[in-house]
């Protein structure tokens, strides 16, 4: 009991509340700007934490993480440019929804889901941390492989219109993903002596090209033929969804949050994978109205809940085992060490306040996001009022800066430009750009863990079938692949 009061006192004082607000806001801005990741936001805050009390420093960084995870969707929805890797899946339905004049609604929905996911995972973290962390250790190479396959199974829902083209697109994405130094034996693959290709091709720059730039090209062709007066007028309406409407979609909130929390807890798999898998599981429903990929609100809720639930989830192994649950959590853990705290089981025993403080910071940040963020972000919708020639040029410029700032590298800008053209033609011929991105993101996990498991098994792949968790994950993967086809068959049978 003492501990609870102590932690409450540590978090609920004006100074810490101010820090939470700063953290959330700063994270959101960094998240919303393409190319600036949440990790970068935390690194930039780091120097200010040297002189702070450790609890305060951590509260600041955790709130920044929450804000950053949520902020990425602003540009996903408005500009079709994901601000952070976590926001990739939000473009699939968020952007079409904004195009239908519901930008404000989409943004409000995104923020609400983000805060819901954060709170959900914070509670899980507080209640079940040590137990879950141990369970997370049953996730090894074989299971990562299955997880990657589950992620890929999204294509059956994303590419519903033309399955074969979607499959070819995924393969192209996987192929692009193999460029660079082979992560197992270090040989250079498809790099043609170019140092720029050695580290592989960054999917964010590909995505900015194939999504945002290609979309601008497409709009240049069309904008003069569309009645823009009506479109702009509609676009400006900032309407937030009513709670009763949201309550109807409660299952998406829960599903997204559960998936996000679980994937957050698994070491090293963070919000970007969590949101893709949550989207894939949501988009299995073919009778949805509007269809997924055409602005279905549930296509925003699930990934948004999921990547923010991964925030709390990823803190579980970070705090209890000293193993970061996501790339951003790894940065936070490095910051812990600088401040002089060693995460791990000892931390929870010696400084029980820390866990409670992080819990309270998560909850407070989420509430702040919910109350303030909902209204602030929906105002961003006004940007769509710009006449298209200006808006389009703005999107491209942001894309260029965004691609550049990923690694401060000019090559990423070239990649963006190239994939702008590739994406344009893929669109025209009904190949799926989303599937390319999916292959690119997941290819590495799939190939890497497949080969690692075979090496661990001394050349045999039996490990995939003798490990219980692996069998479970692979079965889920197989089912998600086959479900759309099976459900069609079933329906035909009935009819």
């Amino acid at each position: 009991m003492d501990i609870i009061i102590q932690s409450l006192a540590a978090v609920y004082n004006p100074m810490t509340l101010l820090l939470v607000s700063i953290g959330v806001l700063f994270g959101m801005v960094c998240g919303a700007l393409p190319g600036l990741s949440t990790s970068m936001a935390i690194i930039l805050l780091l120097p200010f934490t040297y002189s702070m009390d450790p609890v305060m420093a951590i509260v600041l960084m955790v709130s920044c993480y929450v804000g950053g995870s949520s902020g990425g969707s602003i540009s996903s929805i408005l500009l079709k440019t994901p601000g952070t890797p976590e926001a990739v899946a939000t473009t699939f339905d968020g952007y079409p929804m904004a195009q239908k004049g519901k930008a404000g609604e989409a943004l409000g929905l995104a923020v609400t889901s983000s805060s819901f996911g954060t709170i959900f995972s914070a509670i899980v973290m507080l209640v079940a941390s040590p137990m879950l962390a141990q369970a997370a250790l049953s996730f090894q190479s074989a299971e990562y492989f299955g997880l990657g396959l589950i992620g890929l199974s999204c294509i059956t829902s994303i590419g519903a219109k033309n399955q074969v083209k979607a499959v070819v697109s995924v393969m192209i994405g996987l192929m692009v993903g193999t460029i660079g130094i082979d992560s197992i034996n270090g040989v250079e693959r498809f790099a043609f002596e170019q140092p720029s290709l050695l580290n592989g091709i960054n999917y964010i720059s590909v995505m900015i090209g194939a999504f945002a730039v290609a979309e601008v090209y497409k709009n240049i062709e069309e904008y003069r033929h569309v009645d823009t007066s009506l479109r702009t007028e509609q676009k400006v309406k900032i309407k937030l969804l009513k709670f009763s409407e949201m309550a109807k979609m409660w299952s998406s909130f829960i599903r997204g949050s559960v998936i996000g929390t679980i994937i957050g807890i698994i070491p090293a798999a963070g919000g970007s994978i969590a949101s893709l898998i949550a989207y894939g599981s949501e988009a299995q429903d073919e009778n949805a109205n509007p269809k997924f990929g055409e602005g279905n609100p549930r296509g925003i809720i699930a990934p948004e809940c999921s990547h923010n639930a991964a925030v709390g989830g990823s803190m579980v192994p970070t705090l209890t085992l000293g193993i970061p649950g996501s790339p951003v959590a790894a940065v936070i853990m490095a910051a812990f060490l600088i401040i002089g705290i060693t995460p791990g089981p000892m931390l929870l025993r010696e400084q029980p306040i820390m866990l409670n403080a992080i819990f309270l910071a998560l909850i407070t940040a989420a509430l702040l996001l919910f109350v303030g963020g909902r209204f602030v972000t929906s105002q961003f919708g006004h940007i769509l009022k710009l006449p298209y020639p200006l808006l389009g040029s703005l999107i491209v410029t942001l894309g260029v800066v965004g691609a550049y700032s990923l690694k401060n590298s000019f090559y990423d800008v070239l990649i963006m430009f190239t994939f702008g053209l590739v994406g344009y033609f893929f669109d025209k011929f009904k190949y799926s750009n989303a599937a390319v991105i999916l292959g690119l993101i997941l290819g590495e996990i799939i190939e890497n863990s497949l080969r690692k498991q075979i090496i661990i098994g001394d050349g045999s792949g039996m490990g995939f079938f003798t490990r219980p968790v692996s069998v479970l994950v692979l079965t889920v993967a197989a089912l998600t692949f086959l479900w759309p086809m099976m459900s069609k068959k079933l329906k035909k049978g009935k009819a």
Partner: protein, 326 residues
């Protein structure tokens, strides 16, 4: 048009002042770029950022961190090489840059094109096993590895990097063979050790301690010439004591491009030296536990140490077939 004239006029003034012989006298006039050839958030990134902040006090101008993490340090190297040799660009280096040169991966030869400022610190590497493992000591591990070549799995980050060198270099020195499995991130690696996928865990001291303090990992050897002066590690033998002559760890230092004017270099070296002596750095070093093995080296000694290390990398990596032939 007007703007262009003004811009041209302004630029002309700057050019005049910059190109003047006074370059060294009033150095530094603007912020200095600290090129970090790694991504954001790793140990080397955070070290460079923290150290820059201390140097700033003595240099009088800020050091701005620039992450150029592409292509396994090559992009950072190329960026620093592409900037003028005027002392406004400092490059952080670790063994990775020597390894890149040893593997013949970059067209810019690091040792030929850069000059040292100083080496600041060294990290020490430990090997351990999971607490649940059957191996209790280094002797158990080595005995098993001798009886079953290539059966033991040791993890690390990146293929052909420093971890690969340490794993294989140690095995060479100990006369054993094991399989090196590279992981994408430290978290995956640690989870693989605790989950039982890997037999041997290697990590630098500070990260090692975080797993060890929870009782999840049992240390078996310190890659050093003597035991470490840390209470929790006083019973852990050093590699040299075990007659395995291999003590590689990571280290961090700074360089500038060759051709930087001597007076400018002197100012830089002085500022970096003062930062090293600053209590703030000592504090930082203590927290990160990088003060246990001697790392500090003055520019001349630092330069000499490169060649010796380079030879070691070249030997091990050519045996592994990772040196690019041209």
């Amino acid at each position: 048009m007007k703007a262009r004239i003004i811009a041209a006029a302004m630029a002309a003034t700057i050019l005049a002042t910059l190109s003047g012989s006074a370059a060294a006298q009033n150095y530094p006039k603007r912020p200095v770029e600290m090129v970090i050839p790694f991504g954001v958030g790793g140990a080397s990134d955070i070290f460079a950022r923290q150290y820059s902040q201390i140097v700033e006090k003595y240099l009088g101008k800020p050091l701005v961190a620039v992450n150029k993490g592409g292509a396994g340090t090559i992009e950072g190297l190329l960026h620093a090489f592409g900037a003028p040799a005027d002392g406004y660009t400092v490059l952080e280096i670790t063994p990775s840059l020597l390894i890149v040169e040893a593997q013949n991966k970059s067209s810019v030869k690091f040792r030929k094109e850069f000059e040292p400022i100083m080496k600041v610190q060294s990290d020490v590497v430990l090997f351990g096993v999971s607490a649940k493992s059957n191996y209790k000591t280094l002797d158990d591990v080595i005995a098993f590895a001798k009886a079953n070549p290539k059966k033991l799995k040791i993890g690390g980050l990146s293929p052909g990097g420093l971890d690969d060198y340490i794993a294989n270099g140690f095995a060479r020195a100990a006369g054993i063979q094991w399989t090196y499995v590279p992981y994408k991130s430290g978290s995956e690696l640690k989870a693989a050790v605790l989950g039982g996928e890997l037999d041997v865990y290697q990590d630098k001291l500070i990260s090692f301690m975080s797993l060890m303090s929870g009782g999840d990992v049992r240390p078996v050897v310190v890659l050093n010439d003597k035991r470490l002066d840390v209470p929790a590690l006083k019973d852990v033998p050093s590699s040299v004591e075990k007659k395995i002559n291999f003590t590689q760890g990571s280290w961090r230092g700074f360089v500038v491009k060759k051709g930087t004017p001597e007076p400018v270099k002197k100012i830089l070296i002085e500022a970096f030296q003062k930062a090293y002596d600053d209590p703030a750095y000592k504090e930082m070093e203590k927290k990160e536990m990088t003060n246990l093995v001697p790392g500090y080296m003055k520019a001349d000694d630092f330069r000499k140490s490169w060649d010796a290390e380079f030879d070691g990398y070249y030997k091990v990596f050519s045996e592994l077939g990772l040196v690019k032939q041209k």
